[in-house]
Symmetry: C2
Subunit: 462 residues, 2 copies
């Protein structure tokens, strides 16, 4: 049987590679979700874990999960079509980190995985003009993996294009009996096999018995021909095209892809993946992927053992005599946690109710540097060529002091050039914007008794 399997695998691989070389394009949909409270204080409501620059690159700078995955995809296939399925709130961060060439299927609101994948499928078909015969690979944006994973994704897509099966899943060979993942039980031990059964997240003992039966982790990675998912989408949702589906997105029922598609599909295959695969969901797993024990200003004495520090502040973190501890400091707060305990962080972060201290915007980013009862001071960074919306506030005055760069302000219709040292004052009610001709940094002092992000009225500048 093993020999037969080998032949089948070889055959499939050859099919795949032949198709790859000639006609099958690689379409990848990266699912970029969640607010990622489990990596607080680096992640928060407006900043998801996939955007944290935590991985050291060859040139010594740091890249985020999104940047790493995006780079890895193109190093495997320079002509890949990448689409990120995400919410509106992440679009700015995506553009800031990987540019504007990437396709983005924007969910107007959260409606679980089936509507999200249906929307991405409609986007590929109607915007990117992908044919219904082409295959699409869906994969989360945040696994910590090497090149071989993306080579596998490519094969997965080729398999989906060529296979009788309507869905081809990636099954990750388990390295320990984890209770964190669902399991896929394949019919046989081949590289590609029919799926015998799916199993929900088990307890560790059950996971052990699954592993003995050759079960694989379900990492949420699968491929299909585009027409297959579009057909299923039209069966469940009454829509014409991508634009129409987006418009009615908020009326859709929340339903998972598993429930809407996988459970109804008898023709499912699974392809094994035995390479390195880490889920960056907790501080514990994230620190395992760090190349050095610290990022940012950190000092550790010799009595520290298995300590990791991620410090985004300008001031140092000094660690003495700690063991198995992660320390992270950001403008949002400071975490000091035993590594194992760090997986229980979510309920504690849910209870922290404070002003967002850092956010990425379409035009750059801001950081709150001081809060008082009647004022708030923030540092605004505008990327070159970007500008704020033209807007006003009802209940606060603002003062801008430019500290870096060149640009222009428009205050109540009057445009003026500004550079480092220039000061601009705006009384409540005055429409204003700032345009960055070069990268621009501004200290903004807001003065008023009821400072709120909702106190903002957009204006049109003509």
């Amino acid at each position: 049987m093993l020999e037969n399997q080998y032949n089948k695998d070889t055959y499939m691989n050859n099919v795949c590679f032949n198709r790859m070389k000639t006609e099958v394009p690689m379409n990848i949909v990266l699912l970029s979700g969640g607010s990622g409270k489990r990596l607080w204080p680096l992640s928060n409501d407006t900043r998801s874990k996939q955007f944290i620059k935590i991985f050291k690159t060859e040139d010594g700078s740091y890249e985020s999960m999104v940047q790493r995955v995006y780079r890895q995809i193109f190093s495997v296939d320079a002509s890949a079509t990448v689409t990120i399925a995400t919410s509106k709130s992440q679009v700015s961060a995506i553009h800031n980190q990987i540019g504007t060439d990437v396709g983005i299927s924007v969910e107007p609101c959260r409606r679980d995985t089936f509507p999200a994948i249906a929307l991405a499928a409609a986007y590929l078909h109607d915007v990117q003009r992908v044919s219904e015969e082409e295959s699409v690979v869906v994969c989360p944006v945040d696994p910590y993996v090497e090149q071989d994973y993306f080579e596998s994704l490519k094969k997965l897509g080729e398999l989906a294009a060529a296979s009788d099966a309507n869905l081809v899943l990636m099954g990750i060979e388990p390295t320990y009996p984890s209770a964190k993942y669902g399991y896929i039980i394949p019919e046989d031990g081949g590289n590609v096999s029919r799926v015998a059964m799916f199993k929900e997240k088990p307890d560790e003992d059950t996971a052990r018995t699954y592993m003995e039966k050759g079960a694989l982790w379900n990492g949420g990675v699968f491929a299909f021909r585009l027409g297959y998912v579009l057909k299923r989408a039209h069966e469940l949702i009454d829509f014409r095209d991508y634009k129409n589906l987006r418009e009615k997105y908020d009326t859709l029922t929340k339903i998972s892809f598993d429930y809407a598609v996988v459970e109804h599909e008898p023709q499912i295959e699974v392809m094994r993946f035995g390479g390195m695969w880490k889920d960056m969901g907790t501080w514990n797993t994230l620190t395992e992927a760090m190349e050095s024990p610290s990022i940012g200003k950190a000092i550790m004495n010799d009595a520290c053992d298995n300590v990791h520090v991620v410090n985004e502040l300008d001031v140092p973190v000094l660690c003495m005599g700690l063991k198995d501890v992660v320390v992270s400091a950001s403008p949002e707060g400071i975490l000091v946690s035993d590594k194992t305990q760090s997986s229980y962080i979510k309920p504690f972060v849910d209870e922290i109710d404070q002003q967002i201290m850092f956010a990425e915007k379409s035009w750059g980013s801001f950081r709150v540097i001081d809060i008082e009862d009647g004022s708030m001071t923030i540092k605004v960074t505008l990327n070159a060529g970007h500008k704020m919306n033209y807007h006003s506030h009802e209940r606060r005055d603002e003062v801008w002091t430019v500290i870096e760069g060149k640009g222009r302000t428009i205050i109540d219709g009057v445009e003026k050039e500004v550079t480092a040292g220039d000061v601009v004052t705006m009384k409540a009610g005055t429409p204003h914007t700032i345009i960055a001709d070069t990268a621009l940094q501004v200290i903004e002092v807001q003065i008023g008794k009821e400072i709120s992000v909702s106190d903002k009225r957009k204006h049109i500048y003509s």
Copy 2:
């Protein structure tokens, strides 16, 4: 012998209490030294540990070591004369924390304990008009003690005034064989006794044998008649009076009080103190004195055991699964340390070479809230009725945005009223000051390529 001793003690106590009620005033000199790096990040070069507000008072607010000791002295003796012997750099903090009524003997520079005590003695004699017959009690400003300690200090002073001995020391009954303190070996076990011997800091085993012999800790507390120390001072230093001694202070040789006085004095007594006494020198001992496990914004999960947090930042510290750890966060940095290890902090702090991020000044305080290559932004807090010096900078422009309070600015000789929302700009070279009519808060943006505290020229405003 015990009975005799009892009688002697009773006699001494009666002498003391009678004198107290009639004629002996209580003169206390508090020695306030050091930069206290061992409590980093709360203490730094400009902010010593004795000024950190860490002790909860009955009304729920926090007080510093200096404030606590000062309050305790007056609750024991409302008519006490308190003099703080300290360096110039601490005068602002002392005035801010305990007002301007306190006597301050200002050391122009550091010259060890004998010159400091000689200067304080001259101050008491020449400025406070204390007679040479009166006794003076010298004590460090930073012990963590209760009322009974100050009642003992009072007795110590009374003893010094009445005794044949020229010096009376307080001997603290040891609670464990510490290697951190010097020991006093008394001639007998009485409440007051002649000193048989002094012992330098021993190792723990030696300390144990000292304890068995009835040795007492030397906490650096002693009393003498003012004339005694003045006489010794004139023997060793050629000076006329307090003013003259201050003027030549930088020419004095560094010498300790022990070396200059104690070692040459055969007539020394020791009085036992058996009450609570803690030395607040390290994070470990400081956290023992904290009434609650945290000061400032802190969250700890149930898996934390013996964890203390002192957080001066506006954002929360979240601790999970830690044991015997102290966490402290301030504008200067973040310490996360095993409590025992925290005593080894000094060399690590010595290596931290950064901008001072927080400082108390004669007029209030400032905090650095942002640093960039070509700019620095600080929040300035002026106490009501105070003002900055009238000054200018050569190499930076400044912008003030008032965020709280009312006051006046003087810019290049022109006075103007300012209130929250007002903006004042100062080009390099322009003399400027701000006067706080009420408590005033200002965001100051400094813009220039070489921002330095030394770039400051004082002007006279007439």
